[in-house]
C-alpha cells in the first residue's frame, strides 16, 4: 500500500475534523457523535506494572496531570519510593506524588524500589458498591469511571477505596480519579502514563484482545495485585511486587 505521509496526515486531519464537528453537534443537539468502530463488549482493560523497570522519574504523574487537567495537590496516579530494612518494615515517601521526581538517595543498606500507583479498576469494586446513586460504575469494558454530571459529592466512594486513589475534585466538587484515559484508549491510543513512561514499566493491557501480550506475560511472570485480601478484583497487576508494599 502506497500511502504517503501527506495522505496519512490528511486522513488523520479529516477524522479529527469529523470528530470535533460531531462533538460540537453533540453539545448542541445531544446526538451521539459519528461512531468509530469501538465496541465496549470487545474490550476488558487492565494494566501491568513492572516494579523492576520503574525508575521513579515521575513522567507518568506529570503526563497524567497534563492530559487530564488534574488539580494541583491531587493525584490520579503517583509513585511511592520504598526503603525496606531487614525487618521488612518499609519507610515510604512520595514527595508531591513524585510529580517533581524524588530527591536522590544513595543508601545501599536497605532494599529500595519505586511503586507506581493508580486506580486498580477493580472488577468487584468496593467504591462502585457504595455509591448511593450510581454516579460511579464499572463500564462494560472494565474501566471504573465517575459520571461527574451525576455525582453528589458525598465522598462515600473515597472512603471505600482501599488504595487511596480517589479524591474530591475541588472545582467540580465531584469524586474524581484515574479514568485509564478512557477518552484515549477508546480511540486506539494508550494511556498518557504508559505513553510517557520511558522504561515500559507501565503497560496498558486488553484482556479480551487475543493478540495482547498480556496473555503470554501472565503465563510466564509472577504477578500480584495490591491488597489481594480485599478481594476487589483489581486489574492492575504488579510484577516483582515486594511483600512490604502497602
Amino acid at each position: 500500500m502506497d500511502l504517503s505521509r501527506r495522505d496519512l496526515f490528511a486522513a488523520g486531519g479529516k477524522l479529527l475534523i469529523l470528530a470535533s464537528v460531531g462533538a460540537t453537534l453533540e453539545q448542541i443537539t445531544g446526538a451521539a457523535p459519528p461512531s468509530e468502530s469501538y465496541n465496549v463488549a470487545e474490550h476488558w482493560w487492565g494494566m501491568i506494572v513492572d516494579i523492576d523497570k520503574c525508575i521513579g522519574c515521575g513522567n507518568c504523574v506529570r503526563a497524567c496531570s497534563k492530559e487530564n487537567q488534574v488539580p494541583q495537590g491531587y493525584f490520579r496516579t503517583w509513585v511511592e519510593r520504598y526503603q525496606v530494612g531487614e525487618d521488612q518494615q518499609p519507610h515510604v515517601d512520595s514527595p508531591n506524588g513524585d510529580i517533581d521526581g524524588f530527591p536522590a538517595d544513595t543508601r545501599t543498606d536497605v532494599k529500595s524500589f519505586f511503586v507506581p500507583k493508580l486506580c486498580n479498576h477493580c472488577a468487584d469494586s468496593p467504591c462502585v458498591q457504595v455509591c448511593p446513586v450510581g454516579a460511579t460504575f464499572v463500564s462494560p469494558d472494565g474501566v471504573v469511571l465517575v459520571d461527574k454530571n451525576y455525582c453528589l459529592g458525598c465522598r462515600y466512594c473515597i472512603q471505600a477505596c482501599p488504595y487511596g486513589c480517589r479524591y474530591l475534585h475541588p472545582e467540580t466538587n465531584t469524586a474524581d480519579k484515574c479514568t485509564l484515559c478512557y477518552h484515549r484508549i477508546t480511540q486506539g491510543l494508550t494511556t498518557a502514563c504508559c505513553e510517557a513512561c520511558p522504561t515500559g514499566a507501565r503497560q496498558l493491557v486488553d484482556f479480551k484482545n487475543p493478540q495482547d501480550p498480556v496473555h503470554e506475560y501472565l503465563r510466564h511472570n509472577k504477578v500480584q495485585v495490591l491488597k489481594p485480601y480485599m478481594a476487589t478484583g483489581a486489574k492492575v497487576y504488579y510484577k516483582d511486587l515486594d511483600g512490604s508494599v502497602r
Binding site: 491531587y74 448511593p132 446513586v133 458525598c154 465522598r155 473515597i158 487511596g164
Partner: protein
C-alpha cells in the same frame, strides 16, 4: 513535609473527607431513635412510670428528625442533586436507603403517631383558636373533626400498631448509619459487624438521656414538680442501655487488641496519641465510666430525691457528651490514620466554614428552637395541673 502529617500517607488521603457535620448526623439521628424508643417503652411495653414523658419524647424526636438532613445537605458537593437518591437509589449502597428510611420514618411513623396522639387536642384547639395559629390547627386536623370516644379508641389501636412498626423503623433509621461505617472493608477502624449494634445502643443511651434532661428542664421552667418515679424509671433504662453499649464497645476493643491484626499497631498508636484526649479521657472516662458509676449508685443505694435529681442531670449531660465523643472518634478517628498503616494526618476544624464549628453549633441549637415551637403548638401537658412529687 506536609503540615500535620506524620509518617507516610497516600497522597489523596491527607485531607479528611468526612468532617464535623458527618459526626453530627449520626448523633442527631441517634437522639431521634433513642427518644422514640423511650416513647415506645410506655406505649408498647406498658412502662407506665414514663408516661409523663411520652409526648415530650415524640416532639423531641420530631425536632431532631427535621434537622437531621441538614448536616448531610451542607456536606454534599452537590446538594442540589440529592434528589438522585430518590430517583436512582443504588441497591448495593447502604447510604442509598437514607432517603426512603428517613421519609418512611418521618411520614409513616413519627408524624402519624404524633397526629394520632394529639388529634383530640388539635381538634379542640382548631375550634377554639383564632388567627394564623387557628389556621395551622385547622390544617392539622386534615379536615376531620371526629373525636368521638369510638374514634379515639381506633386512634389508640392504630397508634399502638404504628409504634410497634416504629421500633424496628427507628432501629433502621439509625442502624443503617452504623452499617455505612461497619461495612467499609477498606477501613479497619470502621469495619466490624458490631458497628450497627454499637451505634444503636449508644443512640438509645443518648436519646434517653436527652429526653430525661429535656423533661427535667421543662418541668423546672414551667415551675412544675418533677415526677420522681418517672425519672427514676428513665434513669434505670438509661443505665441498662448504657451498660450494654459499654460492654459492646469494650468487646470490640478487647477483640481487636487480642487478635492484633495487621492494622492493630497503627490504630493502637493513633489511640495513644491523636485520639487520647477524645477517646480515652472524654469518651471512656468522663463520658462513660463516670456516668455509669453515678447511675449505678442510684440503682444500688437509697439516695434522697434531690441528690438523685442532681445525679441524673450530671449523668445525662455526661452521657450526651460521651456519645458525641464516640461519634467523633469513629468518624474522625477513622480518617486520621493512613490505609498504608504507615502514617497519620490531623483534622483541622474550621470555624466559620460550611462544615465548620459555627455551622455545627447552629445545627445543634436549631432542634431546640424547633422543639420550643412544637411544645407551644402541641403542648405535651394539656390538662395537667400538678403532679405530686413521689419518691424518697
Amino acid at each position: 513535609m506536609i503540615p500535620g502529617v506524620e509518617g507516610f500517607m497516600y497522597p489523596n488521603e491527607v485531607a479528611l473527607q468526612w468532617s464535623l457535620l458527618i459526626v453530627l448526623y449520626p448523633y442527631i439521628t441517634g437522639l431521634v431513635a433513642g427518644a422514640f424508643i423511650l416513647a415506645s417503652l410506655e406505649r408498647v411495653f406498658k412502662v407506665d412510670a414514663v408516661r409523663p414523658t411520652y409526648r415530650l419524647a415524640l416532639l423531641t424526636a420530631l425536632a431532631f428528625l427535621l434537622v437531621a438532613p441538614l448536616p448531610l445537605q451542607l456536606h454534599l458537593g452537590h446538594p442540589e442533586r440529592s434528589m438522585e437518591m430518590y430517583l436512582t437509589p443504588h441497591s448495593s449502597s447502604a447510604m442509598a436507603m437514607f432517603g426512603f428510611v428517613y421519609l418512611w420514618y418521618l411520614m409513616a411513623v413519627l408524624l402519624l403517631e404524633i397526629w394520632l396522639e394529639y388529634r383530640a387536642d388539635i381538634v379542640r384547639l382548631a375550634q377554639t383558636t383564632n388567627g394564623w395559629t387557628g389556621l395551622v390547627y385547622k390544617a392539622l386536623t386534615l379536615g376531620s373533626m371526629n373525636v368521638s370516644p369510638a374514634a379515639r379508641r381506633i386512634d389508640d389501636k392504630v397508634g399502638f400498631a404504628v409504634t410497634v412498626i416504629g421500633i424496628p423503623s427507628a432501629f433502621l433509621l439509625h442502624g443503617y448509619v452504623g452499617f455505612i461505617f461497619g461495612s467499609v472493608k477498606a477501613n479497619p477502624w470502621w469495619s466490624t459487624p458490631l458497628m450497627p449494634v454499637v451505634f444503636l445502643f449508644s443512640a438509645m443511651a443518648s436519646g434517653i438521656a436527652g429526653v430525661l434532661l429535656l423533661y427535667m428542664a421543662s418541668m423546672k421552667l414551667k415551675k412544675m414538680p418533677i415526677d420522681m418515679p418517672c425519672v427514676d424509671a428513665i434513669a434505670k433504662y438509661l443505665f441498662y442501655t448504657f451498660v450494654i453499649d459499654f460492654s459492646l464497645e469494650m468487646l470490640d476493643l478487647v477483640h481487636r487488641t487480642y487478635e492484633a491484626g495487621e492494622s492493630f499497631r497503627s490504630l493502637d498508636f493513633m489511640v495513644h496519641t491523636r485520639l487520647w484526649a477524645s477517646q480515652v479521657i472524654l469518651q471512656i472516662c468522663i463520658g462513660t465510666l463516670v456516668p455509669l458509676a453515678l447511675l449505678a449508685l442510684t440503682q444500688l443505694f437509697p439516695i434522697r430525691a434531690a441528690a438523685r435529681r442532681a445525679i441524673y442531670v450530671a449523668s445525662g449531660l455526661l452521657v450526651m457528651i460521651g456519645i458525641f465523643a464516640m461519634r467523633w472518634n469513629v468518624v474522625i478517628g477513622g480518617q486520621l490514620f493512613s490505609k498504608s498503616f504507615l502514617g497519620y494526618t490531623s483534622f483541622k476544624l474550621e470555624f466559620a466554614a460550611r462544615e465548620g464549628l459555627l455551622t455545627a453549633i447552629g445545627l445543634m441549637i436549631l432542634p431546640f428552637v424547633i422543639f420550643v415551637v412544637l411544645v407551644k403548638l402541641l403542648p405535651p401537658w394539656p390538662e395537667r395541673k400538678t403532679t405530686e412529687a413521689l419518691g424518697d
